[in-house]
């Protein structure tokens, strides 16, 4: 998936994020969470998931708890909390919201891996050239600034190590350090501007944009597959009978031909990166 064209990646991301957002169906959501965990594990060994696990769980827990606390709709009252009824329906709905949120977060975590900054730039550049180029320059400046600030801070700490001084002096010293950072950056920006002009920037109003991506046959096939599955899912979603409704009355019919088809289609859609990887792996094995 990492090797695929940005447009392919964007389509995949759109689907994986849109379905759990728009379709609060317990089976679809559970499927979505499980498969996205799998996809994440495959793409980067679950590194990002591990890093963001706490945040994801806290957010999901908040959704799970807040809905029943504030929404008292529904018929089946489980218990009363501070004289407020907590209904089964609102608990279930909160759970669905939490699962939906979890899948969307997981989808974007995976997206982080296969749709990196450069690919986003490519996508933006189609819409707004100049803005994209300005963005490119700014994005580069962020790590540069961070590095400069670190170096400056180390030297300044040594420069004033003997003496601590009151708050006022410390603030003024901090301001001076910041000033040094800004003037240094401006100095470099002037040089950068010259380097740009020397290479012909600003000579023509329009520039072309080079990106090392090529839209290959595989991309076309994948995009076709994504669009078709997406259309089918949309049709199933809109044709009714599949909507798992909680309010005003819980819908207990979870399963049927249509939901099964939908789950199957969505499952296939979700695990695209997995079978892309498997195919690659297969090719390698044949090679040897």
């Amino acid at each position: 998936m990492k090797q695929r064209h940005p447009i392919t990646c964007l389509l995949y991301l759109a689907g994986t994020a849109a379905v759990p957002m728009l379709w609060l169906h317990p089976i679809v959501l559970v499927e979505s969470v499980i498969l996205l965990v799998l996809v994440n594990g495959l793409l980067d060994g679950g590194r990002q998931m591990k890093r963001n696990l706490g945040m994801m769980l806290i957010l999901a827990a908040m959704f799970l708890l807040i809905n029943p606390l504030f929404s008292h709709r529904g018929r089946i009252v489980l218990f009363n909390l501070w004289e407020n009824p907590v209904t089964l329906e609102s608990v279930v709905y909160g759970g669905l919201l939490a699962l939906s949120l979890l899948s969307v977060l997981l989808a974007f975590l995976a997206g982080n891996v296969y749709l990196d900054a450069d690919k986003w730039m490519y996508l933006f550049s189609r819409a707004a050239q100049k803005t994209t180029f300005a963005l490119l320059l700014c994005m580069r400046e962020i790590p540069v600034l961070r590095q400069r600030a670190r170096q400056l801070h180390a030297v300044h700490r040594l420069k004033y190590k003997e003496e601590r001084g009151g708050l006022r002096r410390r603030v003024s010293r901090g301001a001076r350090e910041l000033g040094a950072l800004v003037s240094w950056s401006l100095e470099d920006a002037l040089l950068a501007a010259q380097s740009m002009r020397a290479r012909g920037y600003g000579l023509h109003r329009k520039r072309t944009f080079y990106f090392p991506y090529r839209f290959r046959r595989e991309d076309a096939l994948l995009c076709g597959f994504f669009v078709l599955t997406g259309a089918a899912l949309l049709y199933l979603r809109l044709s009714g009978g599949l909507v798992f409704s909680v309010y005003p009355r819980m819908d207990l019919i979870l399963w049927g031909v249509k939901p099964a088809t939908a789950c199957l289609l969505y499952g296939c859609y979700l695990i695209t990166p997995v079978w892309l990887e498997l195919e690659e792996w297969q090719k390698w094995r044949c090679f040897k």
Binding site: Q151, L152, L158, E187, A198, G200, Y210
Partner: protein, 513 residues
Amino acid sequence: MALLQIEHLSFAFALSQSPVLQDISFDVEAGAFVLLCGTTGSGKTTLLRQLKKEIRPAGQQSGTIYYRGKPLDAHGENMVREIGMVFQNPDAQCVTGSVWQELAFSLENQQTQVSEMRRRIAEMVSFFGMEHLMDKPIQALSGGEKQMVALASVLLLRPAMILLDEPTAQLDPVAARSFLQFLKQVNEEFGITVLIAEHHTENVFAMADKVVFLQDGRVFAQGAPEAVCRALYEKPELRLFVPQVSAWFLESGKQGGVPFTVKEARQRGVTGSRRNRPVPAGTEQVLNCRGISFRYEKHASAVLQDLDLTLYQGELLALMGANGAGKSTLLKLLLGLEKPQRGKMKIGDGQRLGYLAQNPMLHFTHDTVRGEIYEYAKEIGTYDAAETERLVQRFGLEEVLDRHPYDLSGGQQQKTALLSVLLQRPTILLLDEPTKGMDAAFKEELAELLRQLKEEGKTILMVTHDIAFAECSADRCAMLFGGGITAQQLVAEFFADNYFYTTAYDKLREEQH
């Protein structure tokens, strides 16, 4: 007909009375490799900028520059492609975030079609052999790699001539050498004309077809390297700019062509002499490290491993070693900016450390040099005004007190920064590559300053790549390799025992062969 003819060119910056360039005339033949050198502030950079309309500074120009027989400014906008330019600062001249963006940048400006760009970039990357760098962010590249990317980005426009403004000043000697060799290859294989401003003349004299030496905005000498070399040798104050082996040859009064390489010098039977008289180290240890080990992250590989290092009172120890050998890391540990995971570090009683960073800009926080020195001294209260003034005089900074630190020359910046460090009254000075990007005259001056500081009882630890500077200023040398110190000897022994990593003098010594 010469590719470029400069006739009676003079230039003064806007709002300035005194001209920076005066009556400069010289030709650059098509396909030639021309070295432009000169003292600091002699106008090398200003001259190069006259040749490129897009970056010409504001000011008054007289005289004419002809390009292919036609005045430069009469050419159209294709001149951006015809004459390319590589700048000194590797960080500032790369403007985008990743290597392929940087390479594409110049082509994008020319509205090149994507398929054409792909093709040109592919061939350039293959020629440069930098496939492995393509997906890296520019930040992660070494200085030498950045300069290569900058050169490639300029060459992608297929220029007839490239201008280079001290492209190796910020590089270590190994990277500098490979950059220059690559440049020579580009010049020879494609006949691209090269005009390079440099003060690492040591390497470039040997490759140049022609040398132009500027002094105070005028051409002091021009012509074949040999002729310029002889002219420079005649003037005692310019003798420093003559490559070492050539200077020894001229000194010996031998007949024949002036040698520029060790090989040529050996053929002519040239022998060198040592300039430095190192002081044997004292016996009092001021700093002692035993078994230091350090890694930046738990699973990263060790940067330093079982390192032992001793500094003796009043000596200058030059710490050498390749890029990434851990020299800067060691300084950080000594300064307490990082803590070693294992080992003991002992700093003698009453010893205070002072640190001069590799980039003097890091030290500057005031608008003027005066503020940088006098106000800082007042703030930390170590030196009174009279003492400070004496220091300023000794460093020769009286003239520039009211200038902004950024407007100083590299050498003046380095001196200002060093002075501000001395104001902290350190007893041990840690210097991180103090000669980086500096010319021969400054090195001479710095060596003298360091000698005086030693006499005052200061101990100096200097990290450096500059073999010649270490030879003429240090008492002892140490080599950092594989996380530890592999050799720690007196200068003369150190370089005599080395075979490849050594001075011109030792390379010429007979008994080595």
